[in-house]
Subunit: 204 residues, 2 copies
Amino acid sequence: MTIDGRALRGDATRELVLDAALEMFVEQGYRATSVRDIAARCAMTHPGLLYHFPSKAALLMAALQRRDDVDCVDGESGDLAFNQLDASAVLRHLVNSAKNNASKRGLVELFANLSVEASAPDHPAHDYFVERYTALKATVTRAFADLDRDGALRQGVVPRIAAIQVVAAMDGLQIQWLLDPDTDMAGALAVYVNSLLKEPLERI
Amino acid sequence: MTIDGRALRGDATRELVLDAALEMFVEQGYRATSVRDIAARCAMTHPGLLYHFPSKAALLMAALQRRDDVDCVDGESGDLAFNQLDASAVLRHLVNSAKNNASKRGLVELFANLSVEASAPDHPAHDYFVERYTALKATVTRAFADLDRDGALRQGVVPRIAAIQVVAAMDGLQIQWLLDPDTDMAGALAVYVNSLLKEPLERI
DNA sequence: GTCTATATCAGGATAGAC
DNA sequence: GTCTATCCTGATATAGAC
């Protein structure tokens, strides 16, 4: 692997491959992208690529991890910070994500696809997605619990159930949006979140 | 194709194949099931099967259609009747479906997978799923509109948006349930539906 | 660290005999 | 209506040279 005639350090090659892989998974989906395709985009052959990652599955996992890492560093409110936001900021962040996702069809498709595929216990990304959802629900549950403590929830709203519902709404809205791009994901989510609160969120 | 030495009429073979196909799609998913697998279960070879259905995609479509047909005939409140139910029966039916789905992991997985896969315009089941969601949303919207006319909706609930949210909740809850079978799909959906109404639904 | 070459396998689909 | 035989394509993965 060379760029401008200089050999890349091993790590640099790895990152180049990971970025290319994520791009192509996003563009074409995980299954529809072959290791050969990714290698070609990196100007490598596929055995060359497989020196760095033992299998396509390992490549997927590394690419997902890398995306999370990148997101933490340069996201407006990266996922690392996400579970440290205050309650209403967590909810605003969810609505904002829905808004931003509307310009990232490929990525939404990839995650929607993988969420379902990975529900099979032997899928390479199974643990990743189980943990992802566990963490997400925990954060949102805590946000609602905090709002509850402050008396900001409507009567009868149970934090844990509200969190499950909000996460479900996000996923389900994505499916409808994928099938019909006119669907207003962020709008419907905002209406829903607000229906759980005594006072609507500001600035969403 | 013979059973007890008697040749099946063409239609009988078709149905045998369709039932086997749906079973296997449910057990293993659409992509993971090969035409050869299905043919083997029917004690045929795959070219034999492909005499009846020109391609695997055509087989999928026919199997989905057949499932809808069967559902209409012997379902407790089949989908044909579904759009003729009265408003609260529509909502009860949705919650009931969620309850029943908890014993049909394979089928839930198949539809969840296909909903996402089929969002690609060139997928063989694209039109089927677009139409399916359109019809579902229309029915649920009408149900909420009827309830609204009767003054049964909580203040601020907009029928069209409520329908989108309820459908989204169903899909999203399925994903969470696939990843974590302890998720109470029907419970969370019922709570949500009731949060839209002045008086909770009876018997759910 | 990367390549060439290859092994191995499975998929969908078709041609043509019976 | 169903079979045998085959084609073509594309997948992951490995061995071994450089």
